[in-house]
């Protein structure tokens, strides 16, 4: 049973109050994009064993989407940030670097 700090409400929220929304920072491909790009956007996922950038919705709370950085192997949460941030904040990236100095993902 996961819990995250909703960056909007700034409180701990229980998984039962949230809705998962899959990989974050996907670039939407609209009309005119190539078949490959459109396929990548719709279907191809990183699905890493390790650090995952993902989206969650505080559905039973403020109703806002937010970003989470979570390890899919240990469930460690490296931080949460706004859905309108197109990149993860430096603080979170630093925390990840500290955990995985060689840049490789967790085994």
């Amino acid at each position: 049973m996961l819990k995250f700090i909703c960056p909007i409400c700034e409180i701990e929220t229980d998984e039962t109050e949230l809705t998962p929304g899959g990989e974050a920072h996907l670039k939407r491909m609209g009309p005119g994009s190539s078949d490959q790009n459109f396929y990548t956007y719709l279907f191809e996922r990183k699905n890493p064993r390790g650090i995952h950038f993902e989206r969650w919705l505080h559905s039973y709370g403020c109703g806002k989407w937010f970003h989470v950085v979570r390890c899919t192997k240990t469930m460690e949460v490296f931080g949460t940030y706004s859905a309108q941030d197109t990149k993860p904040p430096k603080k979170i990236l630093d925390a990840i670097k500290k955990k995985l100095p060689n840049g490789k993902n967790v085994k």
Binding site: C9, E17, Y60, K64
Partner: protein
């Protein structure tokens, strides 16, 4: 549906506050102009995150960074206020809607209300976490709700109107005197 929903036992009194008034105000809450307007009209401050402010019969609660819920037990008061607020907010990006019919409010009286609610919501209801200022939206007994404390021994809970009979049954079940823990 107009049948009143009421329940009481030795510990709790649960009541549907039949037809109170509610207004949803959507705008950017941090906007200073907006804050002033609210202060002028309602004589209360825009509440902080996860909190509510009040003035006699009026409660103004934080729903999200761009939504407030204005609540009064008196529907007419609210209906009057809506027009005023709407008019005053004209220049500001906002949406003011009467939602009095969308939702209903239950009052739960009884000093053990924290215990009752903790049967259904995962949020931390310890007195130092959920205080007399707090306003929380949560999933409670499978229903989307919001609640706040109006007296030390009384809370108000909002839920969607169509859920109210189900939710009322849930509350009555949770009010079971035989299942008291005295946790808080």
């Amino acid at each position: 549906m107009s049948d009143k929903l009421e329940f009481s036992n030795n510990l709790f009194t649960i009541k549907d506050l039949y037809l109170p008034g509610m207004v949803s105000i959507r705008t950017h809450l941090f906007d200073k102009k907006f804050q002033k307007i609210i202060k002028d009209i309602l004589k209360i401050n825009v509440p902080n995150k996860l909190e509510f402010t009040f003035n006699k019969n009026l409660y103004l609660a934080w729903m999200s960074p761009n939504e407030l819920l204005l609540f009064s037990k008196n529907l007419n008061e609210i209906l009057k206020l809506i027009t005023i607020i709407e008019d005053t907010l004209k220049g500001i990006e906002s949406l003011v809607l009467d939602v009095s019919s969308s939702r209903t409010v239950f009052s739960i009286k009884g000093s053990l209300w924290r215990e009752l609610l903790a049967k259904g919501t995962p949020i931390n209801l310890c007195p130092n976490k959920f205080t007399s200022k707090s306003f929380r939206r949560t999933r409670l007994g499978q229903v989307s709700t919001a609640f706040w404390m109006v007296k030390t021994d009384q809370v108000y809970i909002v839920c969607g109107r169509s859920f109210k009979e189900f939710f009322f049954k849930w509350l009555c079940n949770a009010a079971n005197e035989k299942s008291i823990i005295k946790f808080f």
